[in-house]
């Protein structure tokens, strides 16, 4: 089975390379912005040549899509871990919302990457479809936790609270990553907590 093993090893290498390149995409997106996200810039950050990038991805768009998917995957893993570790649905809800804000250097960078992806989606039906699918999955997760946190609520009230909470997390991250001096981590957490408390979803 040398044939098979080698094939597996090679595919694994391929995936590792894709991952490394996707990380270079994130780094470039956060550092230089999407306007400077070129194959050459990505290759330089990834420490390889443009040839390798083009051998791993069929084109620039696939590069973005894969980086986008990988980021979503990692976020999902992180969120599922947080949810599993939480003692109550309300604690889980707060944890996964806070996870999406720009509370430290890494998450602020992620928020920048996020706006890059969003900007790249404008006018690109494929990327928009990707965004919608992922975002709806995110909405479903928040919905589930809100419903579990407030069993008595009707579906409409849940939906409204979910949208408000998602908006706060997204908006706060956006604001913070472009002006961290004004909107620091403490301000973001305070806004989130005040919000949860006001909606009746504060710590039991």
């Amino acid at each position: 089975m040398l044939r098979g093993e080698r094939a597996i090893a090679r595919r694994a290498d391929h995936e590792a390379q894709q991952e490394r390149i996707s990380e270079a995409v994130w780094s470039t997106l956060a550092g230089k912005g999407i306007e400077h996200l070129t194959i050459r810039a990505v290759a330089a950050v990834a420490g390889c040549t443009t040839g390798l990038v083009m051998h791993r991805f069929p084109g620039r768009k696939a590069l973005l899509a894969h980086a986008r998917d990988l980021l979503h995957e990692r976020t999902r893993d992180r969120v599922e871990r947080l949810e599993a570790e939480a003692a109550t649905p309300r604690a889980a809800l707060r944890a996964i919302l806070a996870q999406g804000m720009a509370l430290d250097e890494d998450s602020a960078q992620e928020a920048l990457v996020w706006t890059g992806f969003l900007a790249a989606s404008v006018g690109d039906e494929d990327l928009i479809a990707l965004h919608r699918r992922n975002n709806r999955a995110w909405r479903d997760r928040v919905s589930r936790l809100v419903a579990a946190s407030a069993p008595g609520w009707g579906s409409e009230r849940v939906a409204t609270a979910v949208f408000a909470l998602m908006s706060v997390a997204e908006g706060a991250a956006q604001l913070a990553c472009f002006d961290p001096e004004t909107y620091g981590p403490a301000a973001q957490e305070a806004a989130l907590d005040q919000m949860l408390e006001a909606l009746g979803l504060g710590p039991a």
Copy 2:
């Protein structure tokens, strides 16, 4: 004073052209995304040649900055009108927050333009500085209205509520303009109203 009159007329023409071109920037930004925002595309939408664009603006960056400033100016005018027309500070607060969401076709387009500007600001210190200045002015306005709406609150509570409200408006607009089917106008208004009500800033 023919000399002076002509000079004024010509400068007025220049400004009208700048305005027209900036509108083309918005249109392109909302339709094709910032990656396709080129001098040629802008000129085509504006119905002129690249030569005129380059005669009105020293370069592409100035083009973006002016479109950004003009959008801010118009938003400010609109907001000031809304504020003047409002019966109470709370009504004004709600009106100006709703104005920033993606409640109709035009405002959804504005939200798309907004993300384009944000994405263009990444890695560009000048554009970031512009964003921060405008955004802080926006924050001051919301702060003033929240303080007027809840005279008893301490500055810290005001600041937290302001940040939460700004985040909701920004985040909801963002979510809505990329998935209007899921997050319609009614959902956005419901989220805003629920939010104001929960924070104790609902209609008196």
